[in-house]
Assembly symmetry: C2
Homo-oligomer: 352 residues x 2
């Protein structure tokens, strides 16, 4: 079968690979669609930080580069391994792409997103969504609730990242929030905040375009275009000079961290959801009694997000999809388009 | 009366100033002793970040530079203003040096250390402990419990800073902790952790000397000399490779933040108690699901620390005092000695 594989910085190739085999406790999913993630762009532009590398195998999969890309996927179960009981052939599922060891202290205490060997389908080996089939653990195949489409299930992945970040922030309905960055994860955070009933949510983006339009469409109470507006001033005005309770940092550049520090209330929380290409300088003296908290992936959150989509607390998230491309155009019309045309492209789905 | 006043970077002078006047709700304290704080050294070496400056008055005191230094003080009440009921002439008191507005959202909700106009006796105007008298709000004059000496009460200030940092960390008796820096605040954090029953406390210092000896004396379970030992390796060995639950960052340099990131458990908390001269680079990707939390001063914690000293949960903290100097030697034998002879000097008390 064909698969888009990552070899190294700016080196992604459409290869012929063997079809993955179903093993006990696992299920084979025929991929219907798989989103291109911001992290895929980071890997493409800057190179993976590995493992795996060309020399160092991933500790869970034992694989070296190249690996198949793509981790935001949904599809249909076409085969189930021995002992699988919760999923059947023909089921439509969202694929939670995590690979975990099940043995470390974190895995054994319900914190599997902190697994010491953590990997993911789509960048650690064990295949990926930019190919026709993936084989995953039964636990990570989430049968779609009534009314949730396969495309919505693919888009559920970045929403889960946002949802987990919001959960880490501890914000409640009385709280106020700022989301820095209105890409898919930022929009996912916005949708999650609104699904959780948070009264005031501001969203900031560098330039006006598809992302700011979607932030408005998805219910942001305030949209700030940082290239032309004074973020700290806008937030100060909206919060009687106190700042917001929580900031979701989904952009990951020096300027946005500085915005976060300027916008957060004393004692508030900045949640880092972003992947950073360059580590920022932290004006730590200005932190005072606020916190910066990391957020990694998600744990037990796929079912919550799928259910919120099903019952309308998260209104149709497929609206963030701006393009669909076949596998052989995934680089030129997908990855490259997201890098070059950030103003108009938000989520691009690959259809293997 | 004589007072040591700060004019600007490396410019501290012994001046004659008017004796401060007692006003309603306030008490006049004759200072017995006042510690030189690490923050005094920062101000001396790098200059204050103000307010106040020469041109910009402090919003609470309305004073410009110069201001009297010294905020870690204890003494005897010599006069009480109209309406004062909780303190009497002759009482020995610890002076909590905060200046607060009592009007902002934080002051009105029991978070006075987050006051939007926050200042301190000893660097914002309203006098300071490096002079014979200070006049402070009744609320901030803490009568010493039986058995607590005036010197212990002066040293209570850095312990309160450590105590508050420990409280911010959320660590409990089952937890594990690392304190980075064994100056007075680091030792205060160690004493606080032990007073709260935390089972494992490691303390790291750059070089062996008075500070590491005191860390041992004050009950550290592990003392790491970072110039010759591998901190991450030592912490890994002591925690089965998991890292510590909390790190108290009391040193405030790039290397110690890097140590903190390397030593903290996934999901753990780094509390910044340090004052930073240069903002550090944060390898934010390595934060994963850990947090960095700021800690500023203390609120409602003086009585807790004084009581812990009285009942022996904090064993005699005056042992951290390495020298006592009169006011006219406070710069040469005090501030300068702490800068030049960090290995042998820990807490120096000025006796006005």
């Amino acid at each position: 079968v064909r698969a888009l594989r990552y070899y190294g910085q700016a080196d992604v190739r459409l290869d012929e690979v063997p079809e993955p085999q179903t093993t006990p406790g696992r299920v084979k999913v025929q991929v219907d669609c798989c989103g291109i993630c911001g992290s895929d762009l980071h890997i493409y532009r800057r190179g993976s930080m590995g493992p795996p590398t060309r020399e160092r195998p991933h500790p869970l999969t034992g694989e070296l580069l190249p690996v198949v890309l793509g981790h935001e996927m949904a599809g249909q179960v076409v085969e189930v391994g021995e002992g699988v009981t919760s999923v059947s052939v023909g089921d439509l599922v969202a694929v939670e792409p995590l690979l975990i060891c099940r043995q470390c202290q974190f895995c054994r205490s319900g914190q599997y997103n902190r697994c010491v060997k953590m990997g993911a389908v789509g960048n650690s080996g064990n295949g990926g969504g930019f190919s026709k089939y993936v084989v995953i653990d039964e636990q990570f195949a989430h049968v779609l609730p009534e009314g949730v489409s396969l495309e919505a299930a693919a888009v559920a992945e970045p929403i889960c990242v946002g949802w987990h970040g919001v959960a880490r922030s501890g914000v409640g309905p009385d709280g106020t929030a700022l989301v820095l960055g209105a890409g898919p994860v930022g929009l996912g955070a916005l949708l999650s905040l609104k699904a959780k009933g948070v009264g005031f949510v501001a969203v900031a983006e560098a330039v006006r375009g598809a992302r700011t339009r979607m932030a408005e469409e998805f219910g942001a109470d305030l949209v700030i275009e940082t290239s032309s507006q004074d973020l700290a001033g806008e937030i100060g005005e909206a919060t009687q000079g106190m700042g917001v309770d929580v900031v979701l940092e989904v952009a990951g550049v020096q300027a946005t961290l500085d915005y976060a520090m300027a916008a957060v209330k004393k004692g508030g929380t900045i949640v880092n959801v972003a992947v950073w290409e360059d580590p920022p300088v932290l004006n730590i003296g200005m932190l005072r009694e606020s916190s910066i908290t990391g957020s990694t992936g998600y744990a037990f959150e796929y079912p919550l997000v799928l259910q919120a989509i099903a019952d309308g607390r998260i209104p149709d998230p497929v609206r963030m999809v701006t393009r669909r491309v076949p596998l052989d155009q995934a680089v030129d019309q997908g990855i490259q388009a997201l890098i070059d045309d950030r103003a108009n492209q938000v989520k691009i789905l690959v259809q293997p």
